[in-house]
């Protein structure tokens, strides 16, 4: 435990944590962009008994690189499919904490649902059998919130309304993530599974080159900058991983939801300028929110009139969610988990853009 406490940035005593350093921890999606950083954070924090669940066909290069630094820790890489109940049983056997990050995006509602909800149900069924389980950390999505009734620039935090029109918004992944959250809450109620839900904002860092859709989209062959002067709810991947880990090991947060966003959130315009100057150059056109909202309204109407000749992928609710512009808070994360972003926005951006530059 000394190792553990000395490696975690905060001053913690054994009573600060719900598990010991040697207790087994399961991480699903452990070779993903965030999952591999969660593994890294756990190892750096002194946890010595990790079970990394991966898809059999996964590229394990990132995870392997991290595991090479796992001096003395027992790290078991378990290939499997969460759609298999047997694989879930094996993965969850005797674990103290489950970090559930695995999720595969799919454009279709059934595909996303199968990959997020059915898999989570299988894992939860396995978790129910684990007597020593102390926490199930469900990694959700920021997109499940609705800002429909929040004014432009209004605060969006954990207390805000969840979106009940995700089908209308046409967002299969967000729909599945919302149902996944609901399932976790249902299992907690029925079976007493101790859980916490974390909802990361726009995660950035080395490992992804994508510009978050909250800044803009390139659907029409040229990048439409839609974010304007909106604050972007960024979280640097390592900061995000640390928040997820803390949600799994800190006591007293059962049943809580945490949004993960960093400090000093940039404006969309500011981020885009940096990206183009220091990362990758491309052409973009700024489209003001009211104009794009009008476009979405017209698209929605046309879609209905034409009986789906164009799918309603652009619609007012989606437009509001991503481009209306809100303020975000990480106060709960700081107050309840003692989290603070270790990597500042300027440093995170520097590392991210260096990666973007290298990858071209």
């Amino acid at each position: 435990m000394n190792v553990l406490t000395s490696r975690l940035p905060e001053k913690m005593t054994q009573s600060d944590l719900i598990i010991g350093a040697d207790d087994p921890i399961l991480i699903t999606g452990s070779n993903g962009f965030i999952g591999s950083r969660v593994v890294n954070t756990l190892l750096r924090s002194g946890f010595t008994n990790l079970r990394c669940f991966v898809r059999p066909s996964s590229n394990l290069a990132d995870l392997d690189a991290i595991l090479k630094t796992a001096n003395g820790a027992r790290v078991e890489v378990v290939p499997g499919n969460l759609l298999s109940r047997d694989d879930c049983q094996k993965a969850a056997k005797d674990v103290a904490v489950i970090f559930h990050l695995a999720a595969a995006g799919d454009k279709s509602f059934p595909g996303s649902f199968m990959n997020c909800v059915v898999t989570t149900r299988n894992l939860l069924d396995a978790a129910v059998q684990v007597a020593c389980l102390r926490r199930f950390v469900n990694v959700g999505s920021f997109a499940v919130y609705s800002n429909w009734n929040i004014s432009r620039g209004g605060l969006l935090d954990e207390s805000c309304e969840l979106e009940h029109h995700l089908v209308e918004r046409g967002e299969a992944y967000a729909f599945a993530k919302l149902k996944q959250d609901e399932l976790v809450v249902e299992y907690a109620r029925k079976h007493g599974i101790p859980y916490a839900i974390v909802r990361p904002g726009a995660v950035y860092g080395p490992g992804t080159r994508q510009v978050t859709g909250r800044v803009g989209i390139d659907t029409f062959g040229i990048f439409l900058h839609l974010g304007g002067s909106n604050q972007i709810p960024f979280t640097y991947v390592d900061n995000c991983a640390r928040a997820i880990v803390l949600a799994g090991i800190k006591p007293g947060v059962e049943g809580e939801v945490f949004n993960i966003v960093d400090d000093d959130l940039p404006r969309s315009r500011q981020f885009l300028r940096s990206y183009k100057s220091h990362g990758k150059r491309f052409r973009s056109i700024y489209v003001p929110y009211p104009l794009f909202y009008g476009f979405c309204w017209a698209w929605e109407k046309y879609s209905k009139w034409s009986q789906g000749q164009l799918a309603p992928v652009f619609n007012r609710r989606r437009c509001a969610t991503y481009w209306k512009g809100n303020r975000y808070s990480n106060q709960k994360l700081k107050d309840r988990l003692g989290w603070k972003p270790e990597v500042s926005y300027s440093e995170g951006l520097r590392r991210y853009l260096e990666f973007v530059r290298k990858k071209g």
Binding site: R55, S57, S108, S306, Q307, Q309
Partner: protein, 370 residues
Amino acid sequence: MLRIAIVGCGKIADQHAEQIAYIPDCQIVAVCDHEELMARQLQERLNVPAGYTEVQDLLDQARPDVVHITTPPQAHYSIGKICLEAGCHLYIEKPFTVSHGEAEELIQLAERRNLKLTVGHDAQFTHAANQMRKLVSEGYLGGPPAHMESYYGYSLGDGVYAKALLGDGHHWVRKLPGGLLQNTISHGISKIAEFLTDDGLEVVATGFRSELLKSIGETEIVDELRVIIHDGRATAYFTFSSQMRPSLQMLRLYGPKNGLIVDQDLQTVIKLPGKHYKSYLAQFLPPWGYAKQYIGNALGNMRKFAKADFHMEYGKRFLIGAFYRSIIENRPAPIPYHEILRTSRIMDEIFSGLRLTPKTPHPESACASH
């Protein structure tokens, strides 16, 4: 008002439901999936009154007139049989069944019970395919086709489905007797089956694994197929390829007088006049004529789009609508049964020619999502 049920709540079910929503005088009254959560999600999204995990419960309680079977193909026969026995008309996703024998049994049962069925060969009912059929029936070819070429391109390089299939050694498609081919080629085969006869049907097939699949260590999936079919009167070539670019979805028909090219991707129908021009005119006039035809096709497509009559899933909507009308008006189903049987027979012969042996169905596949 037709009462519709969907069995199998995966991706294809969504496509069916989307089109059914635009067809008048019908209502989805129930959905069913072996996986309760999948049934629940479709029920909730479509606001359907009832969801089930057992087909028999659906039939007993929801009492649908028509059942759409959108499960993996291994379950089509068994589910189809109990639905027919319960007095339901059937729309079965492609491939119709996993064998010709199963197809025959279902069709015989439907005929005995005076019920209708069809298969999801919706590519036969796109604007281009309908126009081609009209030209053929008007005698443009100068008689029945003497030769046909059907191309079915399939990209493994992208797409969630291909990734899921390649990454999952237990994927249900791998358990089909014909593997990936069985799940995909019926669209291309049915287009030529429409113009073949059953007399002395000969099928010669060769299949192999592409270099791409070999390079990633794939040892089961066959993703390249070439077939020659001869019915004693006409011949046909069928090409299935994951590597050929452009990735064509095309049918070429050659009659005694003229030919036709039907491009499903471009939604064009190009007439190939058999007329021979003298000297250099053969190099000047036909290209000009083809250019005019392509421009005409482009303008026609734009006109249809402007009239909101150019939906991505037009063929599916057309086929479902035509099938429902055939039930209401007690007319023949839109796809003749002998075509369904011919398609399944050709597919059986292809797979036996390739020595792709039937595999034990996955126990969890019954009634699962497609």
